[in-house]
Amino acid sequence: MSRIFKYSFIFIWSAFVLTPLSWALVTSFKPPAAVNNGATFIPWLQFQPTLDGWKDITGISGYANLFPPLINSATVTFFATLVSLTFGCMAAYGLSRFSYGWKHYKNPDIIFFFISQRIMPPAVLAVPFFILLKTLHLLDTKLGLVLVLTSGLMPIVVWLLVDFFNQLPKEIDEMAMLEGCNPFEAFVRTILPLSKPGLTVAGMFSIIFGWNDLFFALVLTFTNVQTLPVAVVALNGTVTPFWTLCASAIFSILPLIGLAFVVERFLSKGGFAGAVR
């Protein structure tokens, strides 16, 4: 009984998640008639698939080219994630192993300070960030966007990794220090190699949030640096056929789907909370 329940739940949930995706995928290959003359679902049977929608977004038809925004998005996301992971994992290790504090504020308060940055609605930060980047002449630059995104991604990384490091036995780094490492060497040589699952999860979240950022890109960049979400939204702003929009939507999530397949290996191996001893 519980099996039936479980499988029907999985089935319904998969349908719920996959239907819009598959519908977008199918629509991206439809010719105009297949969209305008009532709903069609099955390629070759109900309509002859065409690549028109995809030609519209890849610059082949001269309509729009999403490759430069893709590269912008990838660059910005990569560097924001790199900076967040590099400094975030050090911060998280420090918060996991050493005590800091001022008066009655201790490590948990510092961790809360980090995560509280995410509680704030981004709109609150739009104007301050705009003025900040303008002063630094970083408006409409990749560097400016990387800095702003890092401020949002680092809290997630720190928050996830503090938990992860807390689950690694502290005897490992104590042992490394007994054997002659300073705290930094102990971290790099013994803790980091064990942290692949944690780093993968933190990196994944960081990439997803960075990749999906529309708000800051919209506010802080204009023509020079157009990221993928901004470009897709811009397509929507003009009168763009459905099949082209669907193609752009699929196009923008493809890299993340590819990434999910790559990192899945690290995630299942040992798991996020993996047993260490």
Binding site: P169, I172, A176, L178, E179, E185, L194
Partner: protein, 358 residues
């Protein structure tokens, strides 16, 4: 190879001014270079705290630690050059056995050729040469503990080797083997060893000297023989030896311990003492079943025995006190009822308020 000295070391985690609540009450002691010591006591008595203070994992709340003549109280762990084997096998899972053993030397920036040779030597000593290229995470718990030990010994200048209940997670049938092996490896090396355990047999077979702890205090230190023959308190009498020491209360009359109608000679000159009552203790191993009456012989009620395998323990009642007598398996059991037992004078020790009277 260093002498370890504690001067007035005390540890508290909540900084309570009342020293009675401290995890480690202020203590001073010296552990001589090249000897092996076992710290024994029940869980939470401060054994691990002492190890952590020696290794520098925690800084003591008060007092100073010396390795030889150097004050290392404030020195970071890495500078103390102390080796530690934790209760749970601590190995670097991401490395091979060889990389694990080489790790302390890599940290010290030794030359690769020298490292390889040294690691080879140590691997041979701990009997793991054939597994050098294996991933360390694939080994059994006993081999992991050997690698922890090997990482400690691979540094030829290590000042002290600390072991925190290293056999706790080892299967019982491997425990004996591993203990023997560890002992063999350490023997012949001029190294100061501090071994923490709650198992008195492990402690006695392992160490030259035992330090018995209770509630953050060092109760008695001495060789296994000292602790067995001359426990300085009822606590040590109960903790060391199995079954525990027999204790009974008796009146002091004319230099004898009077219990019921019997007068017993004791190891202490009771005439010098002004006490009316004292407690007396004797090891079950020292009590003998006697054919008939004599000096220091009591007639007791034999009510049954416990079979411990190689030995048996007779339970005897006398004036409401239980007295245990340990006999070899070959001993022919008497019928239940009245029997005579002898409490040899030299083994009958006196205690006042839980402490030995000398």
């Amino acid at each position: 190879m260093a002498k370890i000295t504690f001067t007035d070391i005390g540890q508290t985690y909540d900084k309570d001014p009342n020293q009675e609540t401290w995890a480690l009450k202020p203590m001073s002691m010296t552990l001589e270079s090249g000897r092996s010591y076992a710290l024994v006591g029940p869980s939470g008595c401060g054994k691990t705290t002492i190890l952590n203070i020696i290794s520098g994992i925690i800084n003591p709340f008060q007092g100073k630690v010396f390795l030889d003549e150097n004050d290392v109280t404030k020195l970071p762990t890495a500078k103390r050059n102390v080796a530690l084997v934790f209760q749970f096998p601590t190995i670097y899972k991401s490395m091979t056995v060889e990389q694990n053993l080489a790790f302390p030397l890599v940290c010290r920036k030794w030359e690769p050729a020298k490292i390889k040779q040294r690691v080879g030597d140590i691997a041979e000593q701990i009997g793991i040469s054939h597994k050098l290229n294996r991933s360390a995470s694939k080994l059994g718990a006993d081999e992991k503990q050997l690698i922890s030990l090997g990482r400690g010994l691979v540094r030829d200048d290590v000042t002290a080797l600390l072991m925190d209940e290293p056999l706790t997670v080892i299967d019982p049938q491997l425990k004996f083997e591993l203990r023997k092996k560890i002992k063999q490896i350490i023997e012949g090396k001029d190294i100061t060893v501090v071994y923490v355990t709650h198992d008195q047999y492990e402690a006695m077979t392992f160490a030259d000297e035992l330090l018995v702890m209770s509630l953050g205090k060092l109760v008695q230190r001495g060789t296994p023989e000292d602790l067995f023959e001359r426990p300085n308190s009822k606590y040590v009498g109960n903790f060391i030896g199995s079954p525990a020491m027999n204790f009974f209360k008796a009146e002091v009359v004319d230099g004898f311990a009077q219990i019921g109608d019997y007068r017993l000679n004791t190891a202490v000159n009771l005439k010098k003492l002004s006490d009316r009552y004292l407690e007396f203790g004797i090891r079950p191993e020292h009590v003998r079943v006697q054919g008939g009456p004599g000096d220091n012989v009591l007639t007791v009620d034999f009510i049954g025995f416990d079979d411990l395998g190689s030995t048996r323990v007779l339970n005897c009642l006398f004036a409401g006190e239980l007295i245990k007598v340990k006999v070899p398996r070959s001993f022919e059991m008497p019928e239940q009822g009245l029997i005579d037992i002898k409490l040899p004078k030299d083994n009958l020790l006196a205690y006042r308020d839980g402490l030995q009277v000398l």
